[in-house]
C-alpha cells in the first residue's frame, strides 16, 4: 500500500518534470530566455528611467511635492528656455545639413579617384570620427584659445582681424556647429561612399547616352538611388545631434551668458550642477518630440520596405 502510493506520486512528479523539461526545450521558451537579459537591461536602464523622467518633471525642487505642470510653466516664462530651444534647433539642423552636404560631396571626390587610392583617402578622412569627441574637442578648444589661438595667428599673418571664437555669442554658436560638423561629416562620408558603390554603373552610362550632364546624373540617378540611406543617416544624425552634450559642454559650457546652451547641456547645468533634478528632467524631456517624430518616420520606412520585400 505504502509502496504503491509513493510509486504513484513518483509518476506524477516525473510527469511534471517531463512537462517542465518539454516546456524548457520548446523553441519559444529558449528563445525568450536568450532575449531575457536584453529585455531586463532595456527595461531597467532605458524604459524605466525614461518614464521616471516624466514623473520627476512633475515634482518640485526638493522632490516632495507634486506640482503637475509647474516646472513647464516656470520654463515657458523664462527667456533662457526659449533661447535654448532656438539654439538647439539651429545647432542640430545646420550641423546635420552641413554634415550631410560635406559627406555627400567628399564621398563623390573619393569615389572619383582610382580605386587603389580610395582606401587611403577613406582611412584618413574618417579619423575625426575615431578620436573620442571629448578629446578632439579639447584640441579645438585649444585652437580657439583667446590669447594663443593658432587660427588667429594665421589670420594675423594674412592681415585678417582676430576672432574671439568662443567669447562672442555668434562666433561661439558658429564654433560649436563647426566642431560638430568636423566630427560627424566623416560618418556621412563613409555611409554615402558605401551607397555610391552600390549604384549600378549602367545607370550612369544610360544617362550619359541620353546626354545627361553631371548635375543631371546626380539629380536623376544618384539621389533617387541613395534616397533611403540619405533619409536614414539624416534622421539618425538629427537625433544624435539634438542630444549632443560633449562638444558644447567642453567648448563653451553654454556660455557666453547661456547663449550656446542646448537641451542636454542646460539640463546638466540645472539638474546635476544646480541640484534641481525635476527642472533638469523637464528640460531634457523636450528632446522627446523630435525623437517621437524620428521614430514614426523610421517605423514607416521599415514597414514600407517590409511590404516591398
Amino acid at each position: 500500500m505504502h509502496a504503491t502510493v509513493s510509486g504513484a506520486s513518483r509518476v506524477t512528479v516525473n510527469g511534471r518534470w517531463a512537462r517542465l523539461r518539454r516546456f524548457a526545450q520548446r523553441r519559444s521558451t529558449i528563445g525568450f530566455l536568450m532575449t531575457l537579459p536584453l529585455l531586463v537591461i532595456v527595461a531597467a536602464l532605458v524604459l524605466y528611467p525614461a518614464l521616471f523622467a516624466l514623473h520627476l518633471a512633475t515634482l518640485n525642487k526638493s522632490m516632495e511635492r507634486f506640482v503637475a505642470l509647474g516646472n513647464f510653466e516656470f520654463l515657458f516664462k523664462r527667456e533662457t528656455f526659449w533661447m535654448v530651444v532656438k539654439q538647439s534647433v539651429i545647432f542640430a539642423v545646420s550641423a546635420v545639413a552641413f554634415k550631410a552636404l560635406i559627406g555627400f560631396m567628399v564621398a563623390h571626390f573619393v569615389h572619383n579617384v582610382p580605386v587603389k587610392g580610395q582606401r587611403k583617402w577613406r582611412g584618413m578622412l574618417l579619423i575625426p570620427w575615431v578620436i573620442p569627441p571629448a578629446m578632439s574637442t579639447l584640441a579645438w578648444f585649444w585652437l580657439f584659445d583667446p590669447s594663443y589661438s593658432a587660427f588667429n595667428w594665421i589670420f594675423a599673418r594674412i592681415g585678417l582681424p582676430n576672432i574671439t571664437w568662443l567669447g562672442d555669442p555668434n562666433w561661439a554658436r558658429f564654433s560649436v556647429i563647426l566642431v560638430n560638423v568636423w566630427y560627424g561629416a566623416p560618418f556621412f562620408l563613409i555611409m554615402y561612399l558605401a551607397a555610391l558603390k552600390s549604384v549600378p554603373e549602367q545607370l550612369y552610362e544610360a544617362a550619359a547616352i541620353d546626354g545627361a550632364n553631371w548635375w543631371q546624373k546626380i539629380w536623376y540617378v544618384t539621389l533617387p538611388m541613395m534616397r533611403n540611406i540619405i533619409s536614414i543617416t539624416v534622421l539618425f544624425s538629427l537625433i544624435v545631434t539634438f542630444a549632443n552634450f560633449d562638444i558644447v559642454r567642453i567648448l563653451t559650457s553654454g556660455g557666453p551668458i547661456d547663449q550656446t546652451h542646448i537641451f542636454a547641456t542646460w539640463a546638466f547645468k540645472l539638474g546635476i550642477e544646480g541640484n534641481d533634478i525635476p527642472l533638469g528632467a523637464s528640460v531634457s524631456l523636450f528632446m522627446f518630440p523630435i525623437l517621437a517624430i524620428a521614430a514614426v518616420f523610421i517605423l514607416r520606412d521599415i514597414n514600407h520596405r517590409g511590404n516591398e520585400a
Binding site: 536602464l45 578622412l125 573620442p132 585652437l143 552634450f245
Partner: protein, 284 residues
Amino acid sequence: MKGERRRALYWSYFFLVLFAIFFLTPPIYMMITSLKSSAEIGAITNPWFVYAPTLDNYTALLGSAQYLTFFKNSVIVSLVVVVITMLISIPAAFALARMKFWGSATLGMGVFLTYLIPETLLFIPLFKIFAWIQDLTGIEVMNHYWVLMFIYPTLTVPFCTWIMIGYFASIPKELDEAALIDGAGYIQMLTKIFIPVALPGIIAATIFAFTVSWADFLYPMAFTTSADQLVLPAGIVTILIRGDVYAWGQIMAACLLGALPPLLIYAFLMDYYIAGLTAGATKG
C-alpha cells in the same frame, strides 16, 4: 571625353586635399602642441611649428599616478562592458534572428527603437535612481567607476544586437537544418555554427562596443567625481584643466595618448570598424 575625366580627377584631388586639411588639422595640432615645452607654448612664436621638440609631456604623464589611474579605469570599464555586451547581445540576436517566438518581431523593432532614446535624456532620472538605491541598500553607487559597467551596456547592447541580427539572418537556413538533423541543440547551433560563421560581425560589434565605452563623456561626468574614479575623457577634462593654469602641452599629450587605443584598433581593423559602422544603416 578623356580630358574632361582628367579634369574631374584633378578637381577631386584638389578638394580631397582641402578636406583632408580640415579633417586632420586638430589631431595634427594636438601632436604639435604635445611636443612643446610650456615655455615654448607661452612664448608667442609660430604655433604650427615645434622649435625644440621634447617628450617631457609624455614622460610626465606616464609617470603620473593620476593619469595612469584614469587609463586603468578606462581599460577595466571598456573591457568589462565589451564582455557584458557580447554575452547579452549574441544570444539575443540569435533568438531574434532565428527562433520565431511570440513577439519576437516586435522585440527586434523595439531593440532598434531604444537606440532613439539618448543618454542625455536618461542621465537625470538615473542619477535619482542611483541615489535611491544608495538610500535603500546602503551600497554606495555614485562616484564609483564600476557603476559605468552597468550603464554603458545601454549604449552598446541595442546597436550590437541590431548589427548581429543582420549578420545571423544572412546565414543560410540549410546550415541550421543540417545541424538539427545531426542532433545539435540550439546552444550547440549557436556556438558551433553561428558564432564562427558570423565572426566578422562579432568583431565589428566588439569594436563598436569598445569605442563607445572608451569615448563616453556624459555618464562619467554625471556619476563620478573623485579623481581616482574618473575614466579618461572625464579625467582629462576635469582634472588636467585646472583653473587658468593651462598646461596645454600636457593636456594635448593626454588626449593623444587617450585616443591611441581606438586609433590603433581603427588602423589595424579598419575594415571591421567600417563594417560595424555601415551595417546598422544598410541592414535597417
